[in-house]
């Protein structure tokens, strides 16, 4: 009999041959709370998806032992039956169903004949909520009647109802208020006291420091350190999370930074689902001619929302002003923003970047197609020449511009989206995670292109979760956290630690 509830040994997972996890070890005792820390993209979520069998056994290498016995689950249902329950960042509750119905979703109690046994479910639901110190919740009311904090706890209740012995909490406090977070942390402490083990993933390191017994730091898919919390503090965690050698080279090209070109004033974005909550809270900044401005921050900091509000593509309510060359400009829709001189390469390439059924060339000319049309007819020759020029300029690798865009690699798809936006002749180019899912070679080419564009006087805003990249190419760095501007740094001798500390809210703004 092992002293550990769960052990993960030498877990390795590859995506299309690219290692995402490289030999990670993790061991959890009953009643222990592990804080899993790492930068965006370090592999935390991938590791938890291996543990909860979102990636089934056989999809990865290594071994998972539960109570010393190998756990070879092929589905989330099997891991849940074994007592390992994951609570995702996005809540998996059905808002229209009652609290009790949600707690029993998938495990409904039935009477003979298949009729739902509401009395038993409601009774059990009340017990669970009492355990969670939520006696004021009425289990027959729909979940949507309760706020984000309660919903998070109801989600935990759902896990308890599945007899969870190991609870994985992925960014549980991302959308909670300070008071709600306190309740959440108390609940986790209670669970620990009852012998339930936890893996707690959060960018809010104070929370991690407050409740975790052991800190596991991973970086670039590798296990960096496992340290008891009493030997750690927030600064040390940050140091372990960064500590990366610059394993990529960044091109350099001198470019002149001129006068202020663009100004965003008092931008606020409201959460479309909870109109009272601000995803971006009164952010203002300036951008100079030929400047590359990096916007750093953790996932959920409001960076994408900020730039999409500037470009007029934010889906919810937002307010604020955008000024260009000392004049207020209308950027209330992408159409108007492009006409005003803005261009945006969106974060989600598949959903917002490429048009799947069109060819590479047709994707590139989508924004400026009318330029190639005489009367109504598209001049194929003219279009093909422009496409050819763009493909050469961006070193886009495609056998032919007539190939479907989906036949290209991620990096080349990104270049096609970039080419499309460059054809609009922007003054301000906004790049949201420009190198996500892009291989190293193409990354370098994208950086080089950014510098060339800056040298031509185009101002660039780059949102990126890769700190090394932000520091590698930006002239100036804005740091966002919880929708607010948390810091602004000139990128001279700036360290990853400084930026990360500001993003987490530890720095002096």
């Amino acid at each position: 009999m092992s002293a550990y509830l769960l052990q993960m040994k030498g877990i390795a997972k590859r995506f299309d041959g690219v290692p995402a996890l490289d030999g990670i070890d993790l061991a959890i005792r009953p009643g222990e709370c592990i804080g899993l820390c790492g930068e965006n993209g370090a592999g935390k979520s991938t590791l938890m998806k291996v543990l909860s069998a979102v990636y089934p056994y056989g999809d990865w290498d290594g071994e998972i032992l539960l109570d010393g016995e190998p756990l070879r689950a092929r589905s989330v249902r099997e891991t849940e039956a074994a007592g390992v329950v994951i609570i995702h960042q996005e809540l998996m509750l059905v808002p229209e169903l009652s609290v009790a119905e949600n707690l029993f979703l998938g495990n409904e109690l039935t009477l003979p004949g298949g009729r739902l046994d509401y009395p038993a479910m409601n009774r059990r639901a009340e017990e669970i909520l009492r355990e969670l110190k939520l006696p004021d919740v009425n289990v027959v009311l729909p979940v949507k009647n309760y706020g984000g904090g309660h919903q998070q706890l109801i989600e935990i209740g759902k896990a308890l109802n599945k007899k969870a012995r190991l609870l994985i909490l992925d960014e549980p406090s991302a959308s909670l208020t300070a008071a709600e977070i306190e309740v959440l942390l108390d609940t986790v402490r209670d669970l620990k006291a009852k012998g339930v083990a936890c893996v707690y993933i959060s960018h809010k390191l104070e929370e991690v420091a407050a409740i975790c017994d052991t800190i596991v730091v991973i970086r670039d898919g590798r296990h960096i350190a496992t340290t008891p919390m009493q030997d750690m503090n927030v600064d040390r965690i940050i140091a372990q999370m960064c500590g990366r050698e610059l394993n990529q080279l960044y091109p350099s090209l001198p470019h002149e930074i001129g006068e202020v070109v663009m100004e965003a004033r008092h931008i606020s974005c409201y959460d479309p689902d909870q109109p009272a909550r601000r995803k971006v809270d009164d952010v203002s900044f300036q951008l100079r001619r030929g400047e590359i401005l990096g916007i750093a921050g953790l996932v959920g900091a409001g960076r994408t929302e900020l730039v999409s509000a500037i470009f007029g593509s934010y889906p919810g309510e937002y307010e604020g002003e955008v000024w260009l060359d000392g004049r207020k400009v209308d950027t209330s829709s992408p159409l108007k923003a492009i006409a005003a001189g803005f261009a945006l390469v969106p974060e989600d390439r598949k959903q917002h970047g490429i048009v799947r059924d069109l060819s590479v060339g047709e994707n590139i000319t989508l924004s400026v197609l009318q330029r190639f049309s005489r009367l109504t007819r598209i001049d194929d020759g003219l279009e093909a020449r422009e496409v050819g020029a763009q493909i050469a300029r961006l070193a886009l690798k495609t056998a032919s511009p007539a190939l479907p865009i989906t036949a290209l690699s991620g990096g080349n798809q990104q270049k096609a989206v970039l080419a499309k936006m460059l054809l609009t002749g922007p003054r301000v180019l906004i790049l949201d995670e420009p190198t996500r899912g892009v291989d190293v070679g193409a990354k370098f080419e994208i950086y080089k292109l950014m510098l060339e564009l800056a040298a031509q006087g185009i101002s660039i805003i780059m949102v990126s979760s890769e700190l090394a990249e932000v520091l590698g190419v930006s002239d100036r760095v804005l740091v966002m956290g919880e929708g607010r501007l948390r810091g602004e740094f000139i990128n001279e001798g700036l360290s990853q630690e400084t930026v990360l500390a500001a993003a987490i809210g530890q720095g002096k703004p």
Partner: protein, 401 residues
């Protein structure tokens, strides 16, 4: 003819080429590449079957002429509908809209004694306006097009019943009847056929040039020649068959013109490119600075215009405005588009494919009527054919991804 299909399906060709080089060919890939040919084979089989059952009556010049005229209504609507579906929407109101506009035309002609030109102009304008209304409600007001169509289906039919008082409006004036019943003189038909043959040759040549310019594999010369030759044989058979009866019917001529115009819009114009882009990924298209709402508005506007055209021809053909005209016509049209390979999730489809789909539906209607098959069996067979066609499409599509 398959120019567009090729331009839009190089993904299917790439594995195809690979398979050929290793000597392995499989049915799925063949079917995907030659889908339009498979459809034509299906039409040939249907025709052969009915011809056998009717002792050649089905393939007589007279009946084929009649079949083409029947098909023209569904075909005209399918031209508009294929754009609607490619853009990721649906329009269920077209059967009722056709009936309403045809009925209005009859009322203007019979009761108000309007000159034909004025009647046609008013009806076309009304079609465009009502189509744009559907488009506005879908694109700007944000009502799902399924609901807008359902509402229109009921409302337009209701207006039609009100306008006609529930009675057939007849008889319409002679010039009006000519719209549906006139024929092109045989000599003009021959000329048209010859012109289309030359056009096919020119298009094939241009396609070769374009493929070469895009560094794509150019098919062997004999294949292009064969394709043009086949087009020539089909055209010759088409013109000579129709000429041996009365000539090319005017509605069929209208349909041929629309085939040309709509294929041109789809392939050669900015608007056409945007239709495919909107249907394939609306959000990405919007972020590219395209007014996706305006694109959708105009697609529905064109659909309304097609309803007006089809309504005029339908009324002319029947020589009367009937309050039940076009009932459940939308179903035949939507079925024609899907049989013709239009993608259900939007973003892909061709005009000529939809028209072959319309030919399938019209052939089934016509043949089964000749055989005196009960109406209920006709419905069952058509339903099964639609399901089967889409199933084949789905099965071969999923194998590719």
């Amino acid at each position: 003819m398959t120019d567009q299909a090729q331009a839009r399906a190089p993904a299917a060709q790439a594995p195809q080429r690979a398979a050929r080089s290793t000597g392995g060919l499989n049915f799925k890939q063949l079917f995907t590449q030659y889908k339009i040919l498979a459809l034509l084979v299906a039409v040939a089989l249907i025709w052969a079957f009915f011809s056998w059952k009717t002792d050649g009556g089905f393939t007589s010049a007279r009946n084929l002429s009649n079949l083409m005229r029947q098909m023209s209504i569904t075909g005209i609507l399918a031209c508009g509908m294929v754009f609607v579906i490619i853009a990721g929407e649906i329009d269920l109101s077209i059967g009722s809209l056709l009936g309403l506009l045809g009925g209005v035309a009859a009322v203007l002609d019979v009761t108000r004694h309007m000159p034909l030109g004025a009647t046609v102009a008013i009806v076309l304008a009304a079609g465009l306006v009502l189509g744009c209304l559907n488009g506005y409600l879908t694109a700007y007001a944000g009502i799902p097009s399924f609901i807008v169509g359902l509402g229109g289906m009921l409302a337009y039919r209701g207006i039609l019943l009100g306008v006609t008082g529930g009675e057939t409006i007849a008889p319409i004036s002679d010039p009006f009847q000519q719209i549906g019943q006139a024929y092109l003189p045989p000599a003009a038909g021959m000329l048209l056929g010859a012109a289309l043959f030359v056009l096919a040759g020119v298009l094939a040549w241009r396609q070769r040039l374009s493929l070469a310019r895009h560094q794509l594999a150019v098919p062997a010369l004999w294949r292009s020649v064969l394709r043009v030759a086949v087009a020539g044989v089909v055209l010759a058979a088409f013109v000579s068959t129709l000429n041996s009866y009365e000539g090319i019917p005017l509605p069929v001529l209208v349909l041929l013109v629309l085939l040309g115009v709509f294929s041109y819009i789809a392939r050669q114009t900015v608007f056409g490119r945007r239709i495919y882009a909107v249907g394939s990924n609306m959000e990405a298209t919007r972020l590219s600075g395209i007014n996706v709402r305006a694109v959708k508005l105009w697609i529905f506007g064109i659909m309304g215009l097609m309803c007006a055209l089809a309504g005029l021809i339908n009324t002319a053909r029947l020589a009367a405005g009937s309050p039940s005209a076009g009932t459940s016509g939308e179903l035949d049209v939507i079925a024609a588009c899907f049989i013709g390979g239009t993608s259900m999730r939007g973003g892909a489809g061709t005009v000529h494919g939809a028209l072959v789909g319309a030919l399938v539906m019209a052939s089934l209607d016509n043949g089964m009527s000749m055989l005196d098959v009960d109406t209920y069996w006709q419905m069952i067979v058509k339903g099964m054919i639609l399901t089967l066609a889409v199933w084949l499409d789905v099965a071969t599509r999923s194998g590719r991804r």
